[in-house]
Symmetry: C2
DNA sequence: ATTAGCACTCCTCTTTACAGAGTGCTAATA
DNA sequence: TATTAGCACTCTGTAAAGAGGAGTGCTAAT
C-alpha cells in the first residue's frame, strides 16, 4: 500500500488540526472542517490505512486519531524541502539585536529571549565554544602581587579571559616575556589542546619560568575543559505550561528538571543534527535520545563567524510544534546572529 | 488575652506538624501525637483562642487548623533569638567549596548548588556587586586593531573585565599612558560613579585622548549600570515540585515564572533584610512584597570581603519552611563563603 | 477549669449513570 | 469497484449521589 494524494491530504489535515488543538480528531470532524469532497466513511477507511502505514495513532478505540512521529517527519521534510523559507520576519529582529551588542554573551542571551517571545516556545542557545577555537594571541596582565589576568584572543576574534593565581610574584616585564613566548608557541593551536602542546614543547625552552608555566597550564586546562566553560542560555522555560499536554505536573517537572541540568542540555544541543549538511537541525519526538524529552521536538540552527560554526540557537517544545512557523524563525535568527557577529569581528 | 505557656506549646505543636505534613491538624490528633497532658476538648478551647489572637487559620469549618504568618514569625524569632546556631554542619561543605574555587563565579554557583542540595529548597545567590566596589587599579590591554580589554581591579580584590570597541586604533604605549592616568584619577572611586568622575575632571587633563576616553566612558557605564551586570544564580528550581502545596500547576507556574524574571529576583534579594542588623534576613509569606511569592518564605545571608558586603545567598520555599534546619545552613554557608573569599583575596 | 458526649458541618473518595465522539462492519448505491 | 449511509458497539469524561471521615462548637457533668 502506498500513500497517495488523498491520504496525504487527510494526513496533513490531521497534523494541522493536532498542532493547533492538541486533540485527536475523528472522520466526521475532518470532513466538516476540511473540504476534502468525500464522506466521513471514506475518510475512516483512509485513516485506517494511514494507521496501518504507521502515520496515525489512536489513543484508544473510540478516540479520534493523532499523528505519529513518522507523520511529523514526513510533514517537516516536506516543509524543509520546499524551503521557501521566509527570512523577512528576521528584519524586525535585527534592530533590536544590534542595539544590544554590548558583550557577545548579552547578544546571544538577547537572541534567545527574542526567539522565545516570537515562537512561544522555550529557547536555548550555546555561546561560542572556546575549545574548538584557534589561538591568535596570548597576553598576561598583572592584577596584584599574586594574581594575573590571562587573556586569550582567538582567530575568530573572541576573547577568553581568566584570573589565575600564581605561587610566586613575578614582574611585569617577565610577564611580557612569557606572554610573547606563549603567543609564539600557541598561535594557530586549538584552545582545547593548550595542555598537550605546552606539556611537551614549551617547558623545555622556558625552564626559567617552569613553575609559573606549570601553574598556568593547570589552571588553563581546568577552566577551558570544564563543562562550565560552555555558556548555555535558556529563555521562556515557563512557555511549556501553556500547552495542554503539559497540564500534568509530572510531565512539567520532567521537562523542567531536564532543562535545569546543564550537561544534558548541552549534550542534546551538540548532538542535534551532528551530521546534517545545512545549518538547520530538527529532532522529532522519539528521535530524541533522552527519555525525558521523547515527546518534544528540538529545532536548532548553528551560527558562524568567518565560516566557522561557533554556537547554536533553537527552540524546544511539544512534538506537535508549529514547525511551519518555528523553522523559518530559527533559521533567520541564526543567520542574523552570524551576520551581526561577522560584522562585529570585521 | 495573652499567649501563655500552654498556648505556646500547642502552637508549636501545630507549626511543627504543619511544617512536616503540610496538612491542617485537629485537636484529637494533637493530643495523640504530642504529649500535652490535656484532653482534646481543652486543646480545642485553646485553639479557638489562638485563632482569635491571629496565630491560627482554619481552611474551612471542619478542617483542622494551620499556622498563620504571625505564628511563623513568632516561631522564627524564637529560633533566631535562641541563636545557638550550629555551624558544625558547615564543615562538610567547606572542602567541597575550596576545591571548586576556580573562578569566583563558579564558587558562588557551587555554593548555591550545595545549599539547595542540603536544604531541599530552591537556592538563590547574587555575585559581587561591582557598582558598590572601589577601584584599585585600571589596565587597558590591546586585543586587536580596534578592540581593547579593560580590566578594573577593585579594592576588595575582584576583577571586572570588559571588551571595548574603539573608534580608532591606538598603540600599546598610548594605552599604557591612558591606563596609568585612569588609575591615578579613579583610585578609590566607586565603580558605579566612574561616569560622573570622568565626565568632569579627566577630559580636561587628557585632551589628547578625548575621543578614546569618551568611547570608553560610554561603554563602561553601559556595562556597569545594566542590570545584567549583577550575576544571579539559582539552583534546584524543581525542588518546588516536591511540596504538596505546589501540586497545583498554576501555583508552580507562578513560582517558576517569578524566578525566571531576573529583575524581580534581584530586587527581592536586595530588599530582603534591607535594614536588618545582622547578616541574616528572613521574610515570611505575606511579608513579601511580590504577589507571586506571598506564600513563600525567603531566608538569605550576606557574605563579605574585608568587612564589606559583596553578595547574598539564600533559599526560597513554601511558608512552612523547615526554618530550624534551613537557618543554620544558610548562616553557615554564608560564613564559609566569606571566609574562603577573604582567604582568596589575602 | 477541664472533659466527655453529641449533633452538625464540610471535604473527599467512590460509585453510578449518561451523554458525546468515534470506530468498524455491512449493505446499499453510483 | 469505489463510495457512502446506517447502526451497533466502545471508550472517555463528567456530573450527581452517597458514604465515610475528620473536626468543630456547644452543653452538661465532673
Amino acid at each position: 500500500m502506498k500513500i497517495d494524494e488523498r491520504k496525504l491530504k487527510i494526513l496533513q489535515a490531521i497534523i494541522h488540526n493536532y498542532i493547533i488543538n492538541a486533540e485527536p480528531i475523528g472522520s466526521r470532524t475532518i470532513s466538516k472542517k476540511y473540504d476534502l469532497g468525500v464522506s466521513p466513511a471514506t475518510i475512516r477507511n483512509e485513516m485506517s490505512d494511514l494507521e496501518e502505514l504507521g502515520y496515525l495513532l489512536q489513543p484508544h478505540t473510540s478516540a479520534g486519531r493523532i499523528p505519529s512521529n513518522k507523520a511529523y517527519r514526513l510533514y517537516v521534510n516536506g516543509l524543509v524541502n520546499n524551503s521557501h523559507i521566509d527570512t523577512k520576519k528576521g528584519n524586525k529582529v535585527d534592530k533590536k539585536l544590534i542595539e544590544s551588542i554590548g558583550q557577545i554573551e548579552e547578544l546571544i542571551e538577547n537572541s534567545a529571549s527574542i526567539l522565545s517571545k516570537l515562537t512561544n516556545y522555550t529557547s536555548l542557545a550555546i555561546a561560542p565554544q572556546l575549545k574548538l577555537s584557534k589561538i591568535k594571541h596570548v597576553q598576561i596582565v598583572p592584577v596584584d602581587e599574586m594574581r594575573v589576568l590571562l587573556v586569550i584572543v582567538t582567530e575568530s576574534g573572541m576573547v577568553k579571559n581568566t584570573i589565575l593565581r600564581l605561587d610566586r610574584s613575578i614582574s611585569k616585564e617577565q610577564l611580557n616575556i612569557i606572554s610573547n613566548l606563549l603567543t609564539e608557541k600557541l598561535k594557530g593551536k586549538l584552545i582545547g589542546h593548550i595542555g598537550d602542546v605546552l606539556q611537551v614543547k614549551i617547558i623545555k625552552d622556558m625552564y626559567e619560568f617552569k613553575d609559573i608555566l606549570e601553574s598556568l597550564i593547570k589552571n588553563i586546562n581546568k577552566s577551558v575543559n570544564s563543562k562550565e566553560s560552555v555558556e548555555l542560555y535558556s529563555n521562556g522555560i515557563t512557555k511549556i505550561f501553556d500547552f495542554p499536554e503539559y497540564n500534568n505536573i509530572d510531565r512539567v517537572k520532567a521537562f523542567i528538571s531536564f532543562l535545569e541540568n546543564k550537561d544534558n542540555v548541552i549534550e542534546m544541543l551538540m548532538n542535534n543534527g551532528f551530521n546534517s549538511m545545512n545549518n538547520l537541525a530538527i529532532t522529532i519526538g522519539e528521535e530524541n535520545s533522552y527519555e525525558e524529552i521523547k515527546n518534544c521536538s528540538l529545532i536548532t540552527a548553528t551560527y558562524k563567524v568567518n565560516g566557522k560554526t561557533i554556537g547554536k540557537i533553537g527552540v524546544i517544545g511539544p512534538t506537535r510544534m508549529e514547525y511551519s512557523k518555528v523553522i523559518p524563525l530559527v533559521q533567520s535568527i541564526s543567520l542574523d546572529l552570524s551576520r551581526i557577529l561577522n560584522k562585529y569581528f570585521e
